[in-house]
């Protein structure tokens, strides 16, 4: 008999009807498994509601109290789900972060779980009880409530899988798994059956948004297999493993895109050590996230062109900061383009397959799509193109790399 952890995301417990449906999923597992630990998110929309309330009081609401406030969301779901299981005749009990306890590093609003006690929960699940644990919350050394960042319930589930040495960790969500590209806009998108942690991380940060990145990182660190699947279907979802467990018959696993990009190019920047730091330091200090950076090789060794991408919503702020900083960083002119998007192909298989880059560029050229910037890593190639070409580019790459 297995010990498993099951996590339900916000939409999977977004209403009383869905909580009852989640209880039925658990009920089916109770017959097959000895020991079940369930981790729940707040009901969909609840955390945002609470944040909105706090912001009516202060844009800079006290961090300690924000944790007290927000942790109530998962508390409510835990109690409702435990009650729903009891109503089905299944022995169940909620355990708050402080009751277990789940110990964090104490940083408010963005804690990391550092340890948790297993005794209470292990005793309970050994006696055929289903333990319900609110995600996202723990306590500090001083017994303050601390939350572990938005989407933190995934991190709670993975930490529990690790500390309790469970055999499985299932993440129930509102999609059937991870797709080869966005299934909402591209009907040819296919569900990926198996994916490596590394690929999943590249998919997540590019907008696949199926699972929280830091939870995937933790799972990767401890080599814990995950299974992302839908609450609304009994179909198998996507299994996330180390890449050594995956057979790469396909070079590319997925094609992602992001339309909220903007590109800035600085022409004739002085080419000397420290210039890049001088440009990007004030941006970092203003919480502007720079994504791709491309610096051309300087032909004369004196000046160079520098291109980088940022979130489109940061464009005005960014150009302002750079212009204010002109005394320190000299350049000839600044040009920007806010009608660009980023297209990426991801696949752990590309490490061993030569010619992927060439194949990608050729495919885009066939569609007469101009590449404005390129950035590559071991398992990902990203290009910046004009936004208007996004759909054509995704469709073409999806076909060319045999994902249809």
């Amino acid at each position: 008999m297995a010990k498993i952890v099951i996590k339900f995301g916000g939409t999977s417990v977004g209403s009383i009807e869905r909580i009852i449906a989640a209880a039925k999923i658990i009920k089916r597992k109770v017959d097959k498994n000895d020991k079940i630990i369930v981790v729940v998110s707040a009901m969909a929309g609840k955390t945002n509601d609470l944040v909105r309330q706090s912001q009516k009081i202060s844009k800079n609401f006290n961090k300690r109290e924000l944790d007290v406030l927000l942790s109530s969301g998962e508390q409510v779901t835990s109690a409702l789900l435990a009650g729903a299981l009891e109503e089905c005749g299944i022995k169940a009990k909620s355990f708050m972060g402080w009751q277990i306890p789940i110990l964090t590093d104490g940083e408010h609003n963005n804690s990391r779980i550092i340890n948790m006690h297993v005794g209470k929960i292990n005793r309970y699940i050994s006696k055929k009880g289903v333990a319900i644990i609110p995600g996202f919350q723990g306590i500090s050394n001083e017994a303050d409530i601390t939350t572990i960042g938005r989407g933190g319930s995934d991190a709670t589930a993975v930490s529990i899988a690790k500390v309790f040495k469970t055999d499985e960790c299932e993440i129930y969500t509102d999609v059937e798994g991870v797709y080869s590209t966005d299934p909402k806009h591209f009907p040819k998108a296919k569900k990926i059956k198996k994916i490596s942690y590394e690929e999943m991380l590249e998919m997540s940060s590019l907008g696949a948004k199926v699972m929280q990145s830091s939870a995937v990182q933790t799972a990767m660190m401890y080599d814990l297999p995950l299974h992302v699947r839908s609450t609304f279907s009994s179909a198998e979802g996507t299994k996330i493993f180390g890449s050594e467990n995956i057979d790469y018959s396909k070079t590319i696993t997925g094609v992602t895109y992001s339309k909220d990009e903007a590109k800035i190019t600085l022409l004739d920047v002085q080419d000397k050590p420290g210039v890049a730091a001088d440009i990007f330091e004030p941006l970092g200090k203003n919480s502007i996230n720079v994504d791709m950076v491309i610096q051309n090789i300087s032909p004369d060794g004196k000046s160079t062109d520098l291109t980088f991408t940022i979130k489109r919503s940061d464009l005005i702020k960014t150009t302002k900061i750079i212009k204010l900083n002109k005394k320190k960083v000299r350049f000839k002119s600044l040009s920007s383009n806010k009608k660009v998007s980023k297209i990426s192909i991801i696949g752990a298989g590309m490490i061993t397959t030569p010619g992927v880059t060439y194949k990608m560029f050729r495919a885009l050229a066939q569609e007469k799509i101009n590449i404005l910037a390129i950035s590559t890593s071991e398992i990902k190639i990203s290009v910046i193109i004009n936004e208007a070409d996004t759909t054509n580019a995704v469709k073409k790459l999806h076909t060319v790399f045999n994902l249809d």
Copy 2:
């Protein structure tokens, strides 16, 4: 410098705007007082919302989990109020029931507070911090969350006043205090400046509903003065003391009425020991609350007439139970009247003032109001009359006893 406890009821923290207003009331006190402990209810309507959600899952929702669920309401208010105070530049911190801890007898949904630790809170308020404590919640010996019954935040405030030996206990609510009769329907109703615990208890149970009865009882037991006042006005409210501190220039403190009464009379009941018990035992077992009971003196020593009142909504159930029980309790006939109301005059002063009963009956007679039943205690006289006469009766008694 004083140590005070201030309690805000649900309507006083019913929206973000009101929570900010409550923070301002506290701010004014911070300048004058060294040490402030605040107790809060859930935002108005919140507890009912949560109960409704639980009942969609089960009419008989698991009691332990109901406590986990409902205690989240006060948790939210505590965090929001602490954040609002911090935003005003006042040092403040929320302390959940488990963080203090507040220890209860462990009964779910209806616990009693048996003790609380003072160290953490005393250290904090000694350093000019405002401690915010959620009402209604505590923990059991097994560290389960336990709630202390609806309206239980009043009980939390009074217990804190006792254990922390505070100089004052202010109860902020949505009315300006206790009135001589219902101010909504009788414009001549006057705010009572001082009232004894005993009178307040009689007023509460009759529907004045300004404060939870068990909290008043606790205050009476420990002789803790209370001050009930409005969040929406700076006017002094009603102070509640032991009767020895009150100067009774008026015999009667208030006139209350209740319209949801029904009267049942059993004619020719056998007059022998144990009959009353035989009648009322099955009612009690069916959770029917019998209020007034009047038994006439039996003229022949063999049979008697028995009249009693119950909630109007229990009438059908009650007559059914009595008829089912006819084998055991014999009577000639049962008559009932569901169009009756109960009028009471309350006043600790009536103990030392002869003729109050007579004066009341005479006043009602002058209005041609027929008295259907009478019941008296040391500080209260209640009569049952036809419901249609309610307004006339209240007005007349309010005038006759100099309350206008």
